[in-house]
């Protein structure tokens, strides 16, 4: 079986995205506490929800990136095809 090698810059990139998702989820919790006037203890008690939301957002970024990648590949393929026909 072939070893799968993930370059360190990719790992760093994914960790940065994950951290960004966590920050967004954390800020969402703060926003919810302020806008619904609930207890500040929810920063701690709702931490598990923040983790779940982080996972959800990270999953969402994967889906979005896959779609963008797919579109890029399609455009690339079309460009290649068009270039061939001109020649």
């Amino acid at each position: 079986m072939k070893d799968l090698i993930i370059p360190s810059h990719l790992i760093k990139k994914e960790l940065k995205i994950l951290l960004a998702c966590f920050v967004v989820a954390f800020l969402l919790n703060i926003y919810a506490i302020i806008s619904y006037g609930t207890s500040w203890f929810e920063i701690f008690t709702m931490f598990y929800v923040v983790i779940i939301v982080t996972g959800f957002l990270y999953g969402l970024t994967i889906v979005v990136r896959l779609i963008v990648y797919g579109i890029q590949q399609v455009i690339k393929w079309i460009n290649e095809k068009t270039g061939e026909s001109i020649e």
Binding site: L28, Y36, T38, M46
Partner: protein, 418 residues
């Protein structure tokens, strides 16, 4: 009873000490070890009359209370008496005639767990013979017998306790404390029910024993659902409303178990209490979907005492982030109404509520009531409101039966206030 259990119960009850005036039995339950009694060994010696299913259960509880000895047992049905002997490992003196047992001078108290029609005579005979008495509920088969029992207790000065164990249930005690503090606002209605789905029969080895074993099914011996089940729940209603009803009306019928029984297998009653508060009660034995419950309905909340839960009328808000997620979900997935409904059905509020008491497991209320009886004997202390509770609850249950029998509204009888 284990030391740890005793300690936590004592601490719990001490926290409720401000309610000692309305629940005087609490002070007895909270007492530190009561000083040594009259004998150096301080053993409380008890005699048990009626050692069938309920009597056996009481004996097993008594055996778990320290320094209690079941010194005598009595039953006129041999299989039960033999069961009783086995439970006491033949250490208790066995009797067939309870009057012989009452002649024993070295008993500190008598426990009565016989069929209902025998309660009054046995309780009165025991007190007149100089014994303290714990008798199972209902106090008696007929209202006038309840009054006779109270009068004899006053004459003899003996300790008398009737088996309404919910008074000792820590969840109920806590619930009553919260109600008195106004947690559910003004109580305007109580709904209570007890539903089972069985024929209420026990195996009869010989046909001539039918009425002896299945005494619950015959009016001569039993008040049926109201005295066997309902009495517990109307006691709770009286306790919470701190009153007895002014009137009652209702219906009852044998509509399912048509097997020769005489007591109703289905009853529905409405009790009217002072200030127009109603207690709606029903019991049946042909459907068990809803089991048993006492629902206390106040303007600020509801309590379900059997479930041990409290529900605010305005439920506490959900955590902010869950609220936000819920709102976002609705924005994305809800349909957009074009023409709204002119009427929205008042379906039940879906809210899980909170527990009245977090402490778990709860000590068994039957064990606590027996423990209280033993403590009463050791301390030689009466708990006056205990008799009041038992009397009013018993009469309330019997009055319901009377209303059903007469098919009319029956007022609380004159001369039945203590």
């Amino acid at each position: 009873m284990s030391k740890k259990n005793q300690l936590s119960r004592r601490e719990f009850i001490k926290g409720l000490s401000i309610f000692a005036a309305s629940m005087p039995w609490l002070s007895l339950l909270a007492k530190e070890d009561i000083p040594e009694g009259r004998r150096p060994s301080d053993v409380v010696r008890l005699g048990v009359i009626g050692v069938g299913s309920r009597g056996s259960l009481l004996m097993l509880h008594l055996q778990s209370i320290s320094n209690v000895e079941i010194a005598a047992i009595c039953d006129d049905y041999m299989p039960h008496l033999n069961d009783g002997k086995r439970i006491t490992e033949n250490r208790a003196k066995a009797f067939v005639d309870y009057r012989k047992m009452l002649e024993m001078k070295n008993l500190d108290g008598i426990i009565i767990a016989t069929p209902l029609h025998l309660h009054a005579k046995m309780t009165i005979d025991a007190m007149r013979a100089g014994h303290n008495v714990f008798c199972e509920k209902n106090m008696a088969r007929y209202m006038h017998e309840c009054k006779d029992i109270v009068n004899v207790q006053k004459d003899t000065g003996k300790i008398l306790q009737i088996g309404f164990q919910r008074i000792f249930d820590l969840r109920y005690i806590k619930a009553v404390e919260l109600i008195r503090k106004g947690r559910i606002g003004k109580v305007n209605m109580i709904r209570a029910y007890w539903h089972r789905n069985n024929d209420w029969r026990r195996h009869v080895p010989k046909p001539e024993l039918e009425k002896k074993i299945n005494w619950r099914l015959y009016r001569e011996f039993s008040g049926g659902l109201m005295t066997e089940l309902g009495a517990h729940q109307v006691q709770v209603a009286n306790w919470i409303l701190d009153s007895h009803p002014e009137a009652v009306g209702g219906f009852g019928s044998i509509n399912y178990w048509k097997d020769g029984r005489e007591v109703n297998d289905s009853v529905s009653l409405v009790y009217n209490y002072p200030n127009g508060i109603q207690v709606i009660y029903d019991s049946m034995i042909s459907n068990k979907r809803y089991g048993l419950e006492e629902q206390i309905l106040g303007d600020k909340g509801t309590m379900e005492l059997e479930a041990g839960k409290i529900y605010e009328e305005e439920p506490p808000p959900a955590p902010g982030i869950l609220h936000l997620i819920n709102d976002l979900e609705h924005q994305f997935f809800d349909t957009i109404p074009i023409g709204g409904a002119s009427w929205v059905p008042d379906t039940p509020v879906r809210y899980k509520g909170e527990y009245i008491l977090d402490q778990y497991p709860f000590p068994d209320a039957t064990l606590l009531e027996l423990d209280a009886f033993v403590k009463s004997i050791r301390a030689n202390e009466h708990i006056d409101r205990m008799i009041e509770h038992a009397f009013y609850a018993s009469v309330t249950a019997l009055l319901g039966n009377l209303a059903i029998q007469r098919q009319s509204i029956v007022n609380w009888p004159r001369g039945y206030s203590l």
